[in-house]
């Protein structure tokens, strides 16, 4: 049961990307599939990445069945800049390309940490599917990039781009939240 406990949270969060109302069932089905096919496990990847490959197949199939299939463009998210261009000085300015509205430090007060965690979790849950998966596995679960590429079946370059976009969006959400909190 140790594997179940260790990966349970991440499995549920990833199952919810495709099948929010049936995440528990998806996780259960993925484990059942893993246990029945253990004999076929060839050890070319870790059990962890194999488990998540199965989970993604089950979750995506369930999503399709529920009419929730996500188009490819929405899976990856738009190619938007990490920070909107308006935050920087425009062409023709002496300091073109430098901050016009520079970031301020996030509050480090421990009292705001639990609220920050909630906001951050919500921001991750709003990411496009693949960005969400990469950020959950890399930053929440602390997997290395190779394992993430294997589990998700993506290239290292793609993984880096998705993680960059995901972190940029989540950072922007936190910044907006702290700005709102300081003005409110």
């Amino acid at each position: 049961m140790e594997l179940v406990a260790r990966h349970g949270g991440a499995m549920l969060r990833i199952a919810r990307v495709y099948a929010p109302s049936a995440a528990d069932e998806v996780v259960q089905e993925a484990w059942a599939e893993l246990l029945t096919s253990l004999d076929r496990f060839e050890g070319r990847s870790s059990v962890k990445t194999w488990l998540f490959k199965i989970l993604l197949n089950v979750a995506r199939a369930r999503g399709r069945k529920e009419g929730r299939s996500i188009p490819m463009s929405a899976l990856e998210g738009d190619d938007e800049p990490a920070v909107p261009a308006e935050r920087f000085q425009g062409q023709g300015h002496l300091w073109a390309g430098h901050w016009a509205a520079a970031p301020v430090a996030f509050p480090s007060d421990p009292a705001v940490r639990s609220e920050t965690r909630k906001k951050l979790k919500a921001a991750i849950d709003e990411l496009p599917a693949l960005q969400r998966e990469v950020m959950i596995l890399r930053d929440v679960e602390e997997w290395d990039s190779q394992d993430v590429c294997n589990a998700l079946g993506i290239s290292d370059t793609n993984q880096r781009v998705l993680l960059h976009r995901a972190r940029s969006r989540v950072r922007a959400s936190l910044e907006a939240y702290f700005e709102g909190a300081s003005h409110g």
């Binding site: 349970g8 259960q28 990490a82 920087f88 390309g97 430090a105 880096r160």
Partner: protein
């Protein structure tokens, strides 16, 4: 003569490279250019700290829920089948 031309980065370029920088995934040349930029740019220094804080806070959202009874049953059945 050594080539002392260095890659020039504006803040608008820096923000696109920070994620790789934090993971040690960019090139050595990129790393040097970023670190030189951080020395003179407080805005980008704070930006990189914000992204670092975001990654650290993401780690704290990890949860390990108790496995539901259905899953425990599945494992008990599997273990029992292996014993026979």
């Amino acid at each position: 003569m050594a080539d002392d031309r260095q890659r020039h980065l504006d803040c608008i370029d820096v923000v696109e490279l920070v994620s790789d920088y934090l993971d040690g995934a960019g090139s050595a040349e990129e790393r040097v250019a970023l670190e030189q930029h951080f020395l003179i740019c407080g805005g980008c220094m704070r930006y990189v700290e914000q992204v670092r804080a975001t990654v650290e806070a993401a780690r704290e959202t990890k949860d390990t829920p108790e496995p539901p009874e259905e899953l425990r049953k599945l494992f008990r059945a599997f273990q029992a089948s292996k014993k026979t």
